[in-house]
Symmetry: none
Subunit: 221 residues, 2 copies
DNA sequence: GCCGGAATAACACATATGTGTTATTGTACC
DNA sequence: GGTACAATAACACATATGTGTTATTCCGGC
């Protein structure tokens, strides 16, 4: 089989011990390690498609680009790569966000190493979706509250703001600062500042909160 | 531990072999067997609460009352009983319906007996939600199409923030800066800054937008 | 090929904001 | 009478933000 695995975690110790365990317990090769999302995407850029990892173990809580944004970004670039989220918390919103972003599985970090290995193999070979049972429970709870929506929407004509500006506005709305938005969208902070300045001019406001308020009132976010 | 298990399946052979496996592999007692939902509910009626099964293995496809309707009906009567659905199909709609009905776990019938036993124990002891990986995958797919309906409610205990802090938060929410809030509330900007710092600490956030987002989500403004 | 606009990027400066610390006052509770 | 706490106020410092200005690249339309 010879699986190719990547590990993204800001804690170097975690990465190494996990990589070591994968190697000795299952002969699985960790072909790429990164300390945050930006780092990971940088390293992916120089790989040929046949070198892509089969499964990426992705920490959620990281400085710089977090695990969820990283999955969202890379799912469009590398749709065949599967992501197994690792987290210390089992926070409802995070789980939902990660799933929407395209995560293929969701494990708690204190899962036994053998269980993690098994999940990696299931994910890679069977196209299954492994979850820690406690995560699965929350997933069910979320689903039972959810209403299936036939993907409605498209308010369409928000031609006032450009696509790019809308993206920036969405990031602002969830409380990110310049640096974080820049990291998420792969732009410089200078560009983000310029976009925001343009947004303010178009909306006739002078601060983040005012802009976000207008966006929310008009259902742009 | 001594778990009490019930099995509901229209195929007598399935019931017996499953019961036998539970008994010899894990010493788990099957205290009740039924061939369909009506049968199951009849038998439950004559039991005292302390005799209720801990976990019920529930087939979905059955003549008479099917597994999903059975769970729906019995969840109101016996809320403490947990249901582990067993099915040969992994049909999307069925999964969603079963979850809404109150199923606590969802396994494919061709799961290895040891895996089923493990799931029963996890469900009973840890209050977890075991799922076959392929079911989990479909669950994720459903969730990613779903829109969370927060079912609102609970303004109630906003004792977290003081009255004064709430006033300040409201002013923040409409886009005022420190000076404007101070002027509106006849306070010094120093005081406003202190209030806001306290608000951040209580809400575990670090910026206006994040604080306002929480306030709006909780209907405080 | 040229033009205009959008997206990108950079620099500089004045303000606003986030954070740590300290202090005074009023008031409710024991 | 003491004390615990909310509200008020102030200071200092490091960052984040708002704003003005300039420049390059890419793309669609004429």
């Amino acid at each position: 089989m010879n699986l190719k695995i990547a590990i993204v975690d800001d804690n170097r110790r975690n990465r190494y011990s996990l990589a070591e365990q994968l190697r000795i317990s299952a002969g699985i090769a960790v072909i790429l390690q990164a300390g945050d999302g930006g780092d990971y995407l940088e390293q992916m850029k120089v790989l040929e498609p046949e070198q892509y990892p089969d499964v990426v173990l992705m920490d959620i809580e990281m400085p710089g680009m977090n695990g969820i944004d990283t999955v969202r970004n890379s799912k469009t670039l590398y749709p065949s790569v599967k992501y197994l989220m690792l987290t210390v918390f089992d926070d409802d919103d995070k789980i939902f966000e990660a799933i929407r972003a395209g995560a293929n599985g969701y494990l708690l970090k204190d899962e036994k190493p053998m269980a993690i290995i098994e999940c990696i193999q299931q994910l890679a070979e069977l196209d299954a979706a492994p979850m820690s049972p406690s995560i699965a429970r929350k997933t069910l709870a979320l689903l039972s509250q959810a209403t299936l929506v036939t993907s409605v929407d498209k308010p369409a004509s928000v031609q006032l703001l450009s696509e790019r500006e809308l993206e920036v506005l969405k990031q602002m709305a969830i409380g990110k600062d310049y640096k974080q938005i820049a990291a998420t969208l792969f732009l410089s902070t200078h560009t983000i500042r310029k976009h925001i300045a343009n947004i303010y001019e178009k909306l006739h406001v002078t601060s983040k909160i005012q802009a976000v308020n207008i966006a929310q009132k008009n259902n742009w976010v």
